[in-house]
Symmetry: D2
Subunit: 254 residues, 4 copies
């Protein structure tokens, strides 16, 4: 039986590419995303056409029990989750304090912080029983510094990073690897960056920075590092790692 | 008319002492705490007996509109809030992931992160209109590192710190000073540490570390720094500052 | 006998203003600077004309034994050093790797890192004998992030900050307070910023940002915080604090 | 012609194992270490016996021109350096301020900070000419926090980390990848940890923590991550990464 790699947030950017990369490495990829059943199916087909195996689910992580029931069902029906990637973002663009409603502020936390807590609460008991497992968490610059207009996003991501550290402190000695992967640049992802910018500005950015195909961060290349981290020997685990394109300024520069 | 210093979380530790210190410096102290009307009254009396002025309110910050209505009432009935101290903690002791319920996890965020957002959303428009104001935020070691058993607390405090940075980025240029004050040691506070440890262990700790009266952090001494930060000239503002006793190991040591 | 406040690097910016502020608070200020005997004399006169007391010395900190001999002489001839401010910078402007000679790289370390080590090695035994003392260290953004063109400066300042932490870890329990004061903005200081920019650009910047006198950081206002930190009670010491003008972007923003 | 991987500090721990791993991946390994010609020869033989290629040199990095001449000679006689690992440590054990001589303090900087600067100054022009290259830097917990007794080590490592960031800011846009690899645990390395602890305590530690062979960090496993980082696509580069064993507490915990 193949080990399972579960991806929460498997769009056309990081999540989907990580799924594909793990599938190519022999994992069964379980791909969950909020919408676009078409896109999901074609992702599964693509993996299968390469000889890999995958299952796709539409999952609205903001709904109570959605993450929990999916994890339990995967454990029961597909197999032990060896790796899980929590890849939900909560970027809502730049908004002043005045323009950030209580609802928007809470939603950021609910998806980006509480979502990870729900996931960990559900999957960890399974992993502890097996004495192993990996939780990969995609994170953002906002997890280490709050910037203008990022009230909801930064609070959610700052909470997420501290949660990763508490999970790591408790779980590492039990053989469970938690990794916080800080993405510090613009990812070539139509589902997220594309929607944030709108089709025209996204196209423009791609044309301007995409020459040689790496002015933007390429998710299929990023997926290599996700796979590497998941396969580190337990005597040499990474808890925090950053990723950016050679052409990005690090967040501490500018 | 005296400038107003509003304290959210005015117990017998940091909050109450900051209130007293500002009152001694000529502010009208508005003291809010969740319970212990007796304690609140005696705090107000103490301030008045020193020649200062203060008003006390019982306020349950976890209730919708509680912070918001108090701020509006103070602005209307007492005077412009020049300084506000957000002093609500969310420490619930050390709990494993398994023993941290969704409710406990959410409550930490609701008090420690969302509470500050509600406060800022309400008070900032007043301050912006006046082109000045100070928001002091008591914070904890858990805002910069997640430790075992701190799932709820660290996530809440990490979010709080990133929120402070976003507020600062937006508000500093408008003349509003936001300061994140990291308390990295045990405070000699019967309401918080005392309750966490229980009366016997608290007494023991005080006897062991309280010799020369400063093995524990003394809130009346800490209050001096709160006052100083609130009175810094706007050409030399502090956004982040740490405080610990000489006998405490810094969080990065140990 | 007045307590002594020794300032290493007492130019017309932070150092001189800290000297003045402490003198006004009852300290005898011992002011050391590399050059400009005229400026030094007029600083001493200014302090004396306010009723304070001060002594000035020309001191080339890059010379072996210069710091050491001055400290010993002050301890012997003037009085116990209660507070010392290490205020030497090592900013040499932006230089590419290619344009940074081995000599320039070493000089940065020699002044900014090793200079502090020499100071601590000499003054700490005196302070340990008295069970108290304060070492204030002016630091720069380069101590927490390396930026383009800052090879020498950032390496020197990064070393300085880590040295402050080791000193703090060893000395705090012995009653000696070490504080790292991160200056994260442009200071209105003719000796440093003025020389770096040249008279014309400095004048321009002052005109552009100096309106209301606080677009630049005003050293006489910053000195208030230096004094406050030096007078914190030992149950509530600050090890790290940042300072910037309300109009500065924090280093983590931009 | 094989790409060259140059290792400065190729002992029996990280350095030697990284050399072996890169050789196995098709690089020619150039291995430099200060002493133990015997050990060096056997490392080269081991690589050759696996079908790889390597050259070994005794190199005293503390001597002027030693690093510089070796780099120039390798570029001229062996081939273009594609990857260089700077693996010199400067740990001298725990020493109080009093017991840290000026000489010891300076030596730490000379090896750990200035050594990297000399290496970068020499190798970067070659890499810039080729528009690519990788500089891997082994670093230590002391680069991010100063601990008691670490005056020399922490100052040197703090400077090293800030130097890595300045190099990265200048060189990344030119296609040169600089990575700071923070080792936050005890490495199973007889040359460094073994010498620091002495044979008996090292044996004891190995027996106590080495069960299941990964209580200590295993350098051959760590080498996998060094290789991965060196091979990241330039659209997804890591600048900072930490490594520790599952059984190590992260430096921010304890």
């Amino acid at each position: 039986m193949k080990p399972v790699c579960l991806v929460i947030g498997a769009g056309a950017g990081i999540g989907g590419n990580v799924g594909k990369r793990f599938a190519r490495d022999g994992y069964h990829a379980v791909l969950c995303r909020r919408s676009d059943e078409e896109g999901l199916k074609s992702l599964v087909s693509e993996i299968e056409s390469e000889g890999g195996s995958a299952t796709g689910y539409i999952l609205d992580a903001s709904k109570p029990d959605s993450i929990e029931e999916r994890i339990e069902a995967v454990e029961k029906e597909i197999g032990p989750i060896e790796v899980v990637l929590f890849n939900l973002g909560a970027q809502i663009g730049s908004r002043t304090l005045e323009d950030t409603s209580y609802k928007a502020f809470e939603l950021g936390w609910r998806l980006a912080t509480f979502g990870l807590f729900r996931l960990a609460s559900t999957v960890v008991p399974h992993m502890v029983g097996r004495g192993k497992g990996t939780i990969l968490v995609t994170s953002a610059t906002a997890s280490v510094r709050g910037n203008k207009g990022q009230h909801s996003h930064a609070a959610a991501m700052g909470g997420r990073r501290m949660l990763c550290q508490t999970l790591n402190a408790e779980l590492a000695p039990q053989g469970i690897h938690v990794a916080h992967i800080l993405i510090d640049g613009a990812v070539d992802a139509p589902d997220t960056l594309g929607k944030l910018l709108g089709p025209e500005r996204f196209k423009e950015l791609r044309e301007k920075r995409g020459n040689e195909h790496d002015g933007l961060m390429l998710p299929e290349k990023m997926a290599e590092t996700y796979l590497h981290v998941a396969q580190q020997h337990r005597s040499a685990w990474t808890h925090e790692i950053d990723l950016r394109a050679y052409s990005d300024l690090a967040w501490w520069n500018h």
